[in-house]
Amino acid sequence: MSTVLVLVHHDDGVIRKSSLELLTLARRLGDPAAVVHGDAGDALAEALGRHGVTTVYAIAPPDPESYRPAVEALALAQLAARTAPVAVLITSGPSGTEVAARLAVRLDGGIITDAVQVRAEAGGPVATQSVFAGAWLVEGRVRRGTPVITVRPNAVTPEPAAEPVTPQVERVELAEPVPAAVPRVVARRAKAATGRPELTEATVVVAGGRGVGSAEGFALIERLADELGAAVGASRAATDLTWCPHELQIGQTGKTVAPQLYLAGGISGAIQHRAGMQGSRTIVAINKDPKAPIFQIADFGVVGDVHTVLPALIDEIAKRRG
């Protein structure tokens, strides 16, 4: 079977959920080969094997450390030249997109971004994209060069392989030096840990907008999120008003989410916001304006005031969970 190169990210050996999703898709296209940054320890290799990875390529980081997207793009280009994969799969998002874009130019092939589904076909993998704020589905494929495909997190449910395998681990030295003129990260402040799930990976997202009225109002969104074990999201209006950090913004210029449940409080549902959440399985909206556009896409809508509905809902859920 032919190789599918998958760029895998992990935290100290724990594979990110979005990478597990890529491996799930990759198994439908061929033999998944994982490309990881730095050493792959035994635990990581074993976990990758459970997800059907037959080969692990561990990129030896250049010394001194270099710009990570540049290193990943170089390594993937080198491995693609060697393994002639049916596709290279990368997670959507700013850094993944950067790697994919560099790689596609190096391989002189086509790129498909933000796929929500990928399936095998005789003429090569066919990717489905959800475009125009989720209003249209586009099926496309790469017809020149190695297909480079970025996949939206949460598009598929990650599943282990039917039969675990023991992957071969190979250390990969970059054959070509990273260009001297690459960006250099001179300062880095990691986002404060919230204890909540990562927004793009969460199965439940509770999001607040201008309608929550204040930072204190936004705290109701956070309380409900914690009651549900959910991630917290926001409209641009709420982040611009600094009721919550910018990284919680959902939409065209924020994150794209596709959870099982998206619960919006005080969000009108502007097209730019819908672009980032329309793919959610179930949408619930609380808004005091019955004409708010969010109700057009809501599975369950409550016309009401967030300041009364949210506290009551938090109590109700706490009561039912006993």
Partner: protein, 259 residues
């Protein structure tokens, strides 16, 4: 320092978008405009010129004849001149082809700093900036919220998936800016009048020495097999809170195994 700003002419966000028979976005049937996200790129360029850091601003777009409106709008905001790559053979060009064309044009423009928007509001791929930079062998820093230029280098503050970073790159370089980089100005009446006298150069594929078989739908590295409207969401239930909304909402969540 010379700046080139990459801008795109896109359909209005509020227009009802549809696909034409060739499965490309129907751009003729809808109003177009300078992409709102590229206005932020224009704004940053003008601010650098106002601060004395830039001596010349050129705008570059690849698009149909009407795309000149985007260039005029940018010139009305500020800046000096514009280049429009327009050619019938370009219809249906994909990201790879667009990057090749823009890179060829930029080789002729010779800018020290290239500024892009974070994404086009129609294609929304966010790949063009990096693809252009890769072709030109330039460092690229995407998603800048704050942008500074001094001593031959570019310093950017940005948010990544899990951190806030300060990133430095030597010039020449390419940067894309987000909608948090600073509100874009409206063109003044004086600016609109002045823009009419600013030069707009038109380049064809032949001018750029790009073979026609690398662009257009025929030269695209990707192909669209099918387009269809997303299945409509089933009409949902909307209730009005009469004191019982929380209980009914909880019932809905429980019935759908979401609690």
């Amino acid at each position: 320092m010379k700046i080139a700003v990459l801008i795109k002419y896109v359909p209005e966000a509020t227009a009802s978008w549809r696909f034409a028979d060739d499965r490309a976005l129907d751009r003729d049937g809808v109003e177009g405009r300078l992409s709102e996200l590229d206005e932020y790129a224009v704004e940053q360029a003008i601010r650098l010129a106002e601060a004395g850091a830039a001596t010349e601003i050129s705008y570059l777009t690849m698009g149909p004849p009407r795309a000149v409106d985007a260039l005029r709008k940018a010139l009305a905001m500020g800046g000096d001149r514009a280049v429009h790559v327009v050619d019938d053979a370009l219809h249906g060009t994909d990201a790879a082809g667009t990057a090749a064309v823009l890179a060829a044009a930029l080789r002729r423009i010779e800018a020290d700093l290239i500024i892009c928007g974070m994404a086009s509001t129609d294609a929304e791929m966010s790949v063009l900036p990096v693809m252009v930079a890769e072709r030109l062998q330039l460092p690229a820093v995407v998603n800048a919220a704050v942008l500074k230029v001094a001593d031959g280098s570019l310093t950017v503050e940005r948010d990544t998936e899990d951190a806030t970073e300060e990133v430095v790159a030597p010039l020449p370089a390419l940067v894309s800016v987000t909608d948090r980089s600073g509100e874009a100005r409206y063109p003044s009446f004086k600016g609109i009048v002045a823009a009419k006298r600013k030069p707009v150069t038109t380049w064809s594929l032949a001018d750029l020495e790009i073979p026609a078989d690398r662009v257009g739908a025929g030269g695209a590295a990707t192909e669209v097999l099918a387009v269809r409207p997303s299945p409509p969401r089933e009409a949902g239930t909307v209730i009005t809170d009469e004191g019982d909304a929380a209980a009914r909402l909880a019932d809905f969540l429980a019935a759908n195994k979401l609690l």
